[in-house]
Amino acid sequence: MMNHKRFAVSGVMVAALAVATAACGGGDPTTPAGAGETTAAAEPVTINVHTFGGGENFGYDAAVEKWNAEHPNIQVKYTNLTDRFEDVYLPQLLQRLQAGSGAGDIVGIDEGAMGLMAARPQFFTDLGEHGLQDRKADFPAAKWEAGVNADGKLFALGTDIGGMTMCYRKDLFEKAGLPTDREEVAKLWPTWDAYMEAGKKFQAANKDAKWMDGPNTIYNVILSQEAPKNGNVSYFDKSNQLVLETNPAVKTSFDWVQKFSQQGLTAKLQAFSPPWNKAIKGGDFATMGCPSWMLGVISGAAGDGNKGNWDVASVPGGTGNWGGSWLAIPKQTKHPKEAAQVLNYLTGKEGHVAAFKEAGAFPSSIPAQQDPEVAGLKNEYFNDVPTGEIFAASVKDLQPVFLGEKHAQVKTSVEKVLEGMDQGAIGYDEAWTKFIEAGVKAAG
């Protein structure tokens, strides 16, 4: 015990020394170096929470304000670093983890990079050491398991979850003579075949707008539905071997995208690009797959002028999940105990509910989902659609889909091929070969 404590103290001193030497590189000199973390800190500890995402991103403003008011000794500083994950946030986080400084005390991680982080256990605090192992019952199995790393330690707890719905442009539907009420629209497309038929009808009546945005969103929607039917894997099997070519889920999703594209139903837009944003605003396409967080993307891109033009119906093909995030504590933090308390709060029922109200991100926490405030919430922008009810239904039977270490890399590469095929840079006949080639190369 004695030894253990002395070891801990010397560890703190080494850390303090490292901070002091790193100070010229932009370290924070106001941090009380060497202030014991073992005793109750006299000075307030600042916990930096770093997140990513557009619009309201993680939606923690209200939750953090409440925490700070109740905990004068642990002050949370919530910073959203960027709205881009793959190309800005993730590389930056990796560099900071390697450098040993600069990362937040609590960091947000997107679904696509969870495999990558799980394979780097040396950078993260074992949350089990701070009693968070008990939270298992709060989360669906899928959300929990993704937060367990290669060493079998819990390193991250879930925040939001995507769920799946279909968003559609009411005004365009009306023009094309299709039903506009969300119940009737749902009846219009129980299956993807029906969705395509409706699309052809729409396209025949409408020359100015396309039925759907492009290949990316619909591909991710269908893949999220197909993966649970094929052993709960998408690009990698559970031993991290690439199964891109052999997993029927991938081929089915690919084939659907190809069919939609060949039928001329897509606006040939790349998701999350400036022209795509413009098209959401301009009404250049009529439908798009919508995980819970996509509602915020649409209302942000379409703007106030389009309020009421977009609506939400259930998605063809059943339940699925696309996206969602986790919170983790990098090992470099000087206050793991306090950070764990904050993380416990933010991923707890209260944090989840506050985030859903603020950013529309649907809670992955089961107690939060069952909270009447969540279940009863409506989204004003989308004609008061009862989002709480709709998304709760869409995540009810959700299966845990395994995402490999290099999931994000493979995803980015193969979707490039889909875009190329849709826009005509890659022929339909060679697209599948190119798709596999790109995926194999990215898996390296």
Binding site: V88, P275, K278, A408, K416, I426
Partner: protein, 337 residues
Amino acid sequence: MASSPTADATSLPPRLERPFMTLQLAPPRHASGKRAAPRRRMTRFDIKGMPYLLVSPYFLLFAVFGIFPLVYTLWLSLHDAELAGERTFSGLANYAELIADAEFWNAVFNTVGMFVLATVPQIILSLMLANALNKRLRGRLLLRLGVLLPMITSVVAVAVIFSQLYSRDYGLFNWVLGLVGIDPIAWQNEKWSSWIAIATMVDWRWTGYNAIILLAAMQTIPKDLYEAAAIDGATARRQFWQITLPMLRPTIVFVVFISTIGGLTLFTEPVTFEGEQMMTGGTTGQYQTVAMFIVEQAFRGSFEIGYASAAAWLLFVLILIGTMVNYFFTRRIGGAR
């Protein structure tokens, strides 16, 4: 030693004596015998050492931001290294893999292709511009300043505006093409169209700059050469080819060198043209340059910094080769040798 001036100073009563010593008394004191030595040493340091001290900030910064990354990159390129991951020595394996990597060669091909597409018209255009600005024109100063204007605009601003002009659905160029009945072009989609789009961005920014440099060189050409040629009956065109161009050769070599280095490290324009920052340069890498390839390998997708470092060194070699080739070409300008 005891003879050091600071030791002297501290032994004196403070405040009163000190200014005297340094301002007035010091010279006679030091003039006698042994005490002269430190002063002479100071002067020698002033002359020999001071210049180095004064230029050292540049070299210190260069060591930190230039030499260190250079050496570190070389060291990394010999490792199988992943960002925030494992690192094992792998010798020249990265280089061997790169040389067999079709995507790397695609990036090289794009870079060289866009370089030629941008630089050839750019040099010709800036020569013509310089020649025109060298004539007696009204408002010459304004015109000369005018061609420099694109230079003072930020690269990103230029690239953003051009990317919008080239946008498929709402772009100005496609609208103009539509007026004459041509279907909208998805500029990002094909190699030729994306290369043209990017080359125009580069040229917009650099043509005026090169023109001004060439203009400055033109003005150093002695007037009597032209007078003599005119007396011999040489036309203006002949004078340009036989006098102006040969006399400009060293400047053209310089301009081409700078363009080569700029062209082969082309980055901002294609990245902005792509819109998102995944560095893939289009769906099939239609306009991915080597610089983008390096960033893609290191910081997007695979996070292979070892591999990216090797690519960075190959780019360095590529620039060396490119500059040498261009040197041999431009040496022959104006028919000499």
